[in-house]
Symmetry: C3
Subunit: 388 residues, 3 copies
């Protein structure tokens, strides 16, 4: 490869594209008395769930990058993907360095731009999500199978930083395969499995989860004591552990305009001063396009991809794509000496895709909590989303 | 509208443009002894008043977006316009969803890129400015009249978030018309009226204002107790209210190289435990181009637009546009049991527009304050601005 | 210059380019017992040292701008260069207004994208670096000599702001020349000198320095008392002074694939209530390209520029550029009544440039500290960098 400056032509690299994502949410909460006792009186609210600007491009024919900042989330901005990728490092493998989603779980590996519901299912609580590390990944040439192996620091903060002498290293690996593919993707069965071994920095770990909605704002310009965000409904508190293992199993399918996806996640926490904990979570969800679209599968990532309406709502008419969806999910944060509680959520969703880049979403989430007794909450939430 | 992916051509959407605004200010304060007693010894300072980067574009032929972040203001970054727009929703109306300037007031609806003075006039204190909501707007085809109607959450914070069960909803509407237009805009009279009904979250409201200058920085790298920003000169403190109404009236004109603009704003605060407050504010300002330009009017927005010098300062010479301007403004935050004080400002300005995107500004602001007695301050301030 | 709008053509200005820089670092620390007593047990860590997005462009044929935000550094984001430039203001001089690196020092004037080591040498501690101000600069037409003169506010914070009545003004000037240039830059000798007079705001100043590595993160998501960043190893504490002077001298050379660079910096602090302090610092470093490249010199900036590998690592092969480098540096923060300590660092480095925009770096830094006795630390650090 000759240096770009060797000719008088304009250098071909770097290339860069400005990208972004906007999600503006509103949510209304109803709680029974027991739930208000447990977590306080959760306030209605409106919030930008994600407000991202990113630069994506290539520094050379085999080297790519992404710097993606989220101005809507707590770090203001928090880091989303901040990474560099070198292609074809060993055989046909790709090498990734930086802050990115660690390869375990199908739901959490699905882009926030392309989720069926407002939030990911409850079992995502267990997963490392974005951490700073190094990953090798590959796929079969026909993209019917893919795998990834990553070493990462844990836990990283909002900004991809991690400090601590006492551990803080982890591994993750995930493999997925399409076991049936018919009719150009209109009939498809996906399976996947994943594993992660975590030695957390400072030898502590904590799992906690809100219901499947997120309004994380403070109470506006006037500082009078309102709760400053949605509190976790289940919470283990700090758990002393030197090693924790995660196991994940995935099953998904497409059948015409119907698709379904399910995962089970198991966290096995080797407590420093106590018995080993077995903490499970699982969900199943399904979606159906009333307007005849099919959910596209991304074989390299082992996840579902973007919905492209058959007829976008444009200047010449069109009704967009309409989808109905439902999800059941469950998480158990209580075992042995840890009494973090259990929660199940049932979520019903209606999605209107105006065009490939714009959608409006409605979710109703019903949460049942078993922690210091039983309690319930219902949440109605909306989202307007655009990405580019 | 066929999906963009239906052809092998590069998809036409999304389109995106990187935009920005840079304002670097310096200010020097002189105060009489009474004013120093009232608000403390205000320190001289330099500051980036606005440092914005934004992505603006279209997701489809009828759907636009803007994500604009201000790195200079307190939220670091604070949200500026963060919104999506759907065109031609009902008849020829446009629908806007997100965080944007609520339609009340001419001065506050004028772009920060196109202001005559460094800061907006004192009555802007009363207005909601950017809040998270939904707006319908429209204009006559000849753009000689325009209107907007918005429902919004109040108050939103720096990041477009609002939390609170007890109210937090509001409406705003504004209508403007050109009653006289001659000579291709070189003779023009604009009138406008606006109204907003606000039920603030947590049933409290607060009005406060500095003089018409803003240096909001902390005291540099060495932490030795300097005042950390310009304090408000008038301030109602928290007012308990379940409903507040705002009334606005506008009058503006262009006559060749001269233009003038005036507004009156009335806030009627229905106190929870006290009498109704009537709080007024008003300003009038005028500008004159020594170099013969005419201030352009933007009919769809009902505001003045960008100054385009006849001869920009470029490699081939040119002196740019030179403008002199003056403003009188007034605000009264005292009524009944509330003793927030009154303030008047007189501001004189000199603007040098090097080209349509670059200007240097000088302002001298004289503030008279009536609050715990009478006091005075004089401020000399400069700005270098560029936008793209 | 006719206004851009005078024709129906698309206006030529503004132009804008999205640029960025990504540096992801990891560091491992070993300390002797005395060093742990002095500064605490420094934790290993990983961190994004710089994560920058910027807009760079022109508002007119003679007016440029840069808005560069660093999301990796403490201000989150901190301002990097935020400025506007007007060319050919007086003769062939350029005028710069905003927040930018003040002209004193060769190491600190070198772009963070183009440094030989992970961090600048210890004497950078004395230098003002980025401050808000106004600068005039010029160069000989053949770029064999260049100069700059700047007036600035001091100290500016992360966001370019400065507040304070009691001083806060400073001047800096630097001149550089190439005294020998042969063989199209493969043989070159650079000399430079610089001076700055500083009247710091609030009449106080503080110098402190870590070794030549930086991991500035808090301890991850779980809040259990880890040190939240790398502490300074030497530190004067606050020094009361109304005037401080800085003197700098530079010498650099290129000889084929070898280059070397050296600076001495002297800070003369006129203490308000004590004797004048003479605080010196100096470094010398050298680099050698195993793959035959030559370090490019940037005459206008008076610094070294970007390394362009002869054979980038691309889809067609290539091994990139390989460089070895070493540096000795020293700083003395003790004089008279001030006992900030002395430190020397020896740094060895290995750089692999995959292409002009991507590099991997290894540094080993050995620090000797003389402060409350003698102590030592060794640091092994890595970086993956991409810029665009």
């Amino acid at each position: 490869a000759a240096p770009a400056q060797a000719t008088t032509d304009k250098p071909k690299y770097p290339t860069v594209r400005l990208s972004g994502l906007l999600q503006t949410d509103a949510a209304w909460f109803s709680q029974d008395a027991a739930n208000r006792d447990l977590v306080g009186d959760v306030q209605d609210g409106a919030d930008f769930r994600r407000t991202r600007l990113s630069a994506v491009g290539k520094a050379w024919d085999n080297v790519g990058f992404c710097i993606d900042m989220d101005f809507g989330f707590g770090g203001r901005p928090s880091f989303a993907d901040v990474r560099l990728d070198v292609e074809d490092v060993i055989g046909r493998c790709d090498l990734r360095v930086g802050f990115f989603r660690q390869p375990i779980g199908m739901d959490v590996m699905t882009s926030a731009r392309e989720m069926t519901f407002l939030e990911r299912g409850l079992p995502a609580t267990f997963l490392p999500f974005r951490q700073t590390g190094v990953m090798l990944s590959g796929a079969r040439e026909d993209e019917l199978a893919a795998w990834a192996l990553s070493a990462y620091r844990f836990p990283s903060d909002f900004y991809g930083g991690n400090v601590g002498d006492n551990g803080g290293y982890a591994l993750a690996t995930r493999a997925t395969a399409v076991v049936l593919s018919q009719d150009d993707g209109r009939g498809l069965v996906h399976i996947g499995g994943a594993y992660s071994l975590i030695d957390p920095a400072n030898d502590v770990l904590q799992y906690r989860s809100t219901p499947e909605v997120f309004i994380g704002e403070t109470g506006g310009g006037v500082p009078v004591g309102v709760p400053n965000n949605l509190p976790p409904f289940v919470d283990t508190g700090l758990i002393a552990t030197e090693h924790t293992q995660l196991f994940g199993a995935e099953l998904a399918m497409v059948c015409g305009s119907l698709y379904a996806q399910s995962e089970a996640i198991y966290s096995v926490v080797d407590q420093t001063d106590g018995p080993t904990l077995f903490l499970p979570g699982a969900y199943v969800h399904a979606g159906y396009f009333l307007t005849g679209e099919t959910r596209v599968y991304n074989g390299k990532g082992g996840v579902f991809g973007r919905v492209i309406p058959k007829q976008s709502v444009g200047k010449d008419g069109g009704i967009g794509a309409w989808e109905i969806a439902a999800r059941c999910s469950y998480i158990d944060l209580s075992d042995e000496n840890i009494t973090g509680g259990r929660m199940s959520n049932f979520t019903a969703g209606l999605n209107w895709y105006l065009n490939p880049r714009t959608k409006f979403q409605l979710n109703y989430i019903h949460a049942n909590v078993w922690r210091e007794g039983e309690s319930e909450a219902g949440i109605f939430a909306t989202r307007a989303q655009i990405d580019f």
